[in-house]
């Protein structure tokens, strides 16, 4: 096994050469599996530290580690980009949020929450982006497809797992059936919509 400094440089070269996240398994293969997971974690943490203060950072994602530009340089990097990525509409974002937070869900589930029909284009645009895919079918009439977010979704949003999604905000407190004096009011209003 190479000394730590050399090992870090090997990791650096491998990570810089790949636009895709490199998995820990692949990184260990660099050293013919002679480097333990703990050592690898330590080396990567050090390497990330080495790069702090630069315009590029080393990040840990769902499928591995990747070098990427810092978000604050977006306006500058954008100037040299031939095309700008289109922003997603609210309909697409809400659909994505429902799939991300409530997965696996069917199109019907999404429609229930949004209160409007979910168009095929919305689902398709998310599928084409590689952010969602069908993970199964609900055993109800019509066997509707169950959608879930993919690893690419986590990678592209800089997340390691779904647990790193921004927490759902507790809204129930601001909107309640409070003024109802009758005893008939059930606990429904207090039940968090998060389910």
């Amino acid at each position: 096994m190479p000394n730590p400094t050399e090992a870090k440089r090997i990791l650096e070269a491998a990570l810089l050469a790949s636009p895709e996240p490199v998995s820990l398994t692949d990184l260990r293969r660099l050293f013919d599996d002679q480097v333990g997971p703990d050592t690898l974690d330590k080396l990567l943490a050090e390497l990330r530290q080495d790069w702090s203060g630069r315009a590029v950072e080393l990040v840990s994602l769902a499928s591995g580690w990747r070098f990427q530009t810092l978000p604050e340089f977006r306006p500058f990097v954008e100037k040299l980009q031939p095309e700008r990525p289109p922003r997603y509409s609210r309909a697409v974002l809400e659909t994505l949020a429902i799939i991300a937070y409530r997965q696996p869900v069917t199109r019907g589930d999404i429609e229930d929450i949004r209160g409007v029909v979910v168009s095929t284009q919305i689902i398709q645009s998310l599928e084409n982006r590689g952010w969602i895919d069908v993970v199964g079918h609900r055993e109800t009439p019509g066997r509707p497809a169950l959608y879930a977010t993919s690893r690419t979704f986590l990678d592209d949003l800089g997340l390691r797992s779904l647990q790193e999604l921004p927490p759902l905000e507790e809204i129930a407190k601001t909107l309640q059936l409070e003024p109802e004096p009758a005893s008939a009011v059930p606990a429904a209003a207090n039940e968090p919509a998060a389910g």
């Binding site: 990097v77 809204i171 003024p179 209003a189 919509a193």
Partner: protein, 268 residues
């Protein structure tokens, strides 16, 4: 529309059924020229309802049902021309609002009161759920996104520039030279032996065998066991015999066996 049974609280009545109450319904109407803009701004009936509730800081229970319903129906009218599917959804919501109102107005038997669900509960649950997702969607959008906010870094790796050519070591060259020398020696050997294995000698041999058997399959003329040199000389012999029209070489069709026999002139 008043809610005599459900909302006896004086404070609430004062706030909603006093002066502000008079103003409220007007504000809930959508001016026809503003309709187009608002259509784009809302994601659906839930979204609109949520907006109205938040904007007016209303409790969901205090929304005067009649103006709200009227407004929804205006939506439906306007939408019918452009988006029937969406119009249906707004219509469903209008129906739901009216149903809630009507159920609230109906006197409930006191016994069933504790069992019966509040008709508004489901609407409130859906509104809360939708608002939560709406906020979550905004938060998701604020996360740095690959391709939009951040770019993956990849340095230029040289292998992608130049075609990779095989490497040649001095040892390879030496080996190649040795092979050449070896082959040259083999050739020299051939030259010497060609006099021994003379073509004409083999021509005789072939003719001899043909006299015994009259017809031989082409392959039978050759004996691989005696080495390449002999094979080559034998072939030359056969070709020479054919050129001198001492034998006939025939093949009925492509890939069929080739037969060699003595030419008629030579046959005894």
């Amino acid at each position: 529309m008043s809610e005599p049974v459900q909302l006896p609280s004086a404070a609430r009545v004062a706030r909603l059924y006093g002066e502000p109450y008079i103003e409220l319904p007007r504000d809930l109407y959508i001016p026809p020229d503003a309709l187009e803009v608002i259509l784009d701004a809302f994601e659906g009936p839930l979204d609109l309802l949520l907006y109205l509730i938040r904007k007016e800081n209303l409790d969901i229970l205090d929304i005067p049902m009649a103006p709200l319903t009227r407004q929804y129906l205006e939506y439906v009218e306007a939408l019918r021309a452009t988006n029937l599917e969406l119009a249906a959804e707004y219509l469903v919501m209008a129906a739901m609002l009216m149903e809630i109102k009507s159920r609230l107005l109906l006197p409930r038997p006191p016994v069933a009161e504790s069992i019966e669900h509040d008709p508004r509960a489901e609407l409130v649950r859906r509104l809360l759920q939708y608002e939560q997702i709406k906020q979550a969607a905004q938060q998701l959008d604020q996360l740095p996104q690959l391709g939009r906010d951040v770019l993956a870094v990849s340095v230029w790796v040289e292998r992608s520039v130049a075609e990779r050519l095989p490497e040649v070591s001095p040892q390879d060259l030496a080996q190649a030279w040795r092979t050449l020398l070896y082959r040259a020696r083999m050739t020299a050997h051939h030259r010497v032996s060609r006099e021994e294995l003379s073509v004409r000698e083999h021509m005789s041999g072939v003719l001899r065998r043909l006299q015994e058997r009259r017809v031989l399959e082409f392959g039978e003329l050759f004996d691989p066991a005696r080495g390449v040199a002999v094979l080559v000389v034998t072939l030359l012999a056969v070709l020479e015999l054919a050129r001198e029209m001492l034998i006939e070489i025939t093949q009925s069709e492509n890939f069929a066996p080739i037969y060699v026999k003595l030419a008629h002139a030579e046959s005894h």
